[in-house]
Symmetry: C2
Subunit: 337 residues, 2 copies
């Protein structure tokens, strides 16, 4: 089995206040790079520290890495437009970050990225689980879904979801591309080109490629993976697919993952990381509704549980990793709250 991790960046993330990943624009650009390095090597290589949110919530990469410490997983790191290439082996499907969705065409190469990822997905050993890391990704997911005319709701990595701000940004993005909601129904690659990000294109392509070989595919994540489900549906992909996520996404009133699952006939697996049972100050922040999901955390935890590992073992392994590497504590920017 393969765990594919698709990382990238979008300039959309540098719009103030829409993402917790990294805490400041510079760190945000390097967050996906550090995330994939943490999952592959156990610690970041291209930066000195583990990314944390403005309030100190560490990256979910720690949990996904903890699962890799416990379970033997083939990891495939897919670079879908990371601003800084990680110092590990990757397969590159997009060679530049996505643009701001308020520009006319933020992902001009969306079709090419999807196609390259499809080629890659055909070669990964089954079953395939796909995770993602891209700051600002829930906003571009919302953008794509509005272009498709699909309502999935939108979660956030911040404790207070800046939903109104995201909708305003997406409306600006639709205007800039001269689109009304639903205009790109049935044209998923166009929706990505005008309102998406390179990671969504990469995940969709990987999934389509793997499904075409008969592999079973699990999308590990929240809002963004629901957007990928919608993209595949609009691409005419009829194979059944699963979504695995955490309780923090499933319990979020801003999204309704089960309703979306039913609508697209997708099986949804929800795992509970039980962070509230954890007296570790940093990881306990997840229990407060921060972080929620990302870097395939929910799907990785589901795999660990299937293999008989307790949630406690996963948490403790993650804490060990957290304690051995410095964290990138940054000044809390007011717009990040």
């Amino acid at each position: 089995m393969t765990f594919a991790l698709v990382g990238g960046t979008t300039e959309t993330a540098s719009i103030p206040g829409i993402s917790a990943a990294g805490g400041n624009p510079e760190l945000m650009a390097v967050t996906p790079t550090a995330d994939v390095e943490i999952v592959e090597r156990g610690e970041p290589i291209s930066t000195d520290a583990i990314p944390v949110s403005p309030t100190g919530c560490p990256t979910p990469a720690l949990l996904t890495r903890a699962v890799r410490d416990l379970v033997d997983l083939d990891l495939a790191v897919i670079d879908a437009g990371m601003a800084r290439p990680p110092a590990i082996e990757t397969t590159v499907v997009a060679d530049q970050p996505g643009g701001d969705i308020r520009s006319a065409m933020p992902v001009p190469e969306a079709e090419d990225i999807w196609e390259r990822a499809r080629t890659v997905g055909r070669d990964l050993s089954a079953p395939l689980t796909i995770g993602e890391t891209i700051p600002g990704g829930t906003t571009t997911a919302l953008g794509v879904c509005r272009a498709l005319g699909v309502d999935i709701g939108v979660s956030s990595s911040l404790p207070e979801n800046p939903l109104e701000r995201k909708h305003r940004i997406v409306s600006g993005g639709l205007d800039a591309s001269d689109l009304s909601p639903g205009d790109l129904a049935g044209a998923p690659r166009e929706a990505l080109r005008y309102q998406g990000d390179p990671v969504l294109a990469g995940v969709a392509g990987l999934a389509e490629g793997a499904l075409s070989t008969g592999a079973s595919v699990t999308l590990a994540g929240g809002t963004q993976m629901l957007a990928v489900v919608a993209l595949l549906d609009h691409a005419g992909v009829e194979d059944s697919i699963e979504v695995a996520t955490t309780r923090y996404v499933a319990d979020d009133p801003a999204t309704d993952i089960h309703r979306v699952g039913e609508r697209f006939d997708v099986r949804v697996t929800v795992t509970d990381p039980e962070f509230e049972q954890c007296d570790h100050l940093a990881l306990a922040r997840f229990a407060n509704g921060e972080g929620k999901e990302g870097v395939g955390m929910g799907g990785a935890i589901a795999i660990a549980q299937e293999r008989g590992h307790s949630m406690k073992a996963v948490r403790e392994t993650a804490i060990q990793r957290y304690e051995t590497v410095p964290t990138a504590r940054v000044d809390t920017p007011s717009e990040g709250r």
Copy 2:
């Protein structure tokens, strides 16, 4: 042991008449991508055909792949600015192609590329052999050496070496950067920034990183690897290093690899692919002084011979590979001769 293959592109290659790789500018840009895919998978993925020179000489990647068919080698593909990312796992050390050396600063990130590659080189399992693929690379190698004030001579992948043209281009490059020959002696990263390409920076960084861990390092190639030897010398790297190349480079009157080897105290291994004993029309072109070296061919052949495989077995395996995949025959552009 690891066989690292560093691929990239430089706009310098699109100057008419300086490289045989690919035969036309568009194919030239995809040649390193196809080369690393051939060595990794046995056939190109991102293009339909094997790159050939204007006269039909196939890429030396076929020979390096043939050695991998015979010998178990850990392959590490390093993307140092490939114009098109290959559809296989790579480690990215440069995220864009190099510029034309006749511009003021063709490789602005040279120091960063060297540094990233150094990090990567520390992690590769010893001993390490490094090959390269970058169309136009002998011209940038000449540029770097002139900036350092080192005379290494310059070979060519074309049967008639356009030496005068290369020197004219390099002189233009020095002028554009406001430099005289030797001005950057002792400043190898500056020499790369103003006169080099991203692959030279990547190879030098990889070698330095591996040497720093005590690994033995073999540079597999001709002119470009001699430039790397000079770069490492000017960077103050004192560990001994080896160069492995083919008879076609060693016999080329335009270079004097043994003299350069003595000057920098480098052990030079020369292998003879004996292509003249081969009645295969395409591969026989190598015997006419085309291709000569590249994609680590000489070093790979040396490894095969150390492991007891005959040159005949290597050639026949390469011919099998050649016969199963179409070749990209292109119209012979007059300036390519």
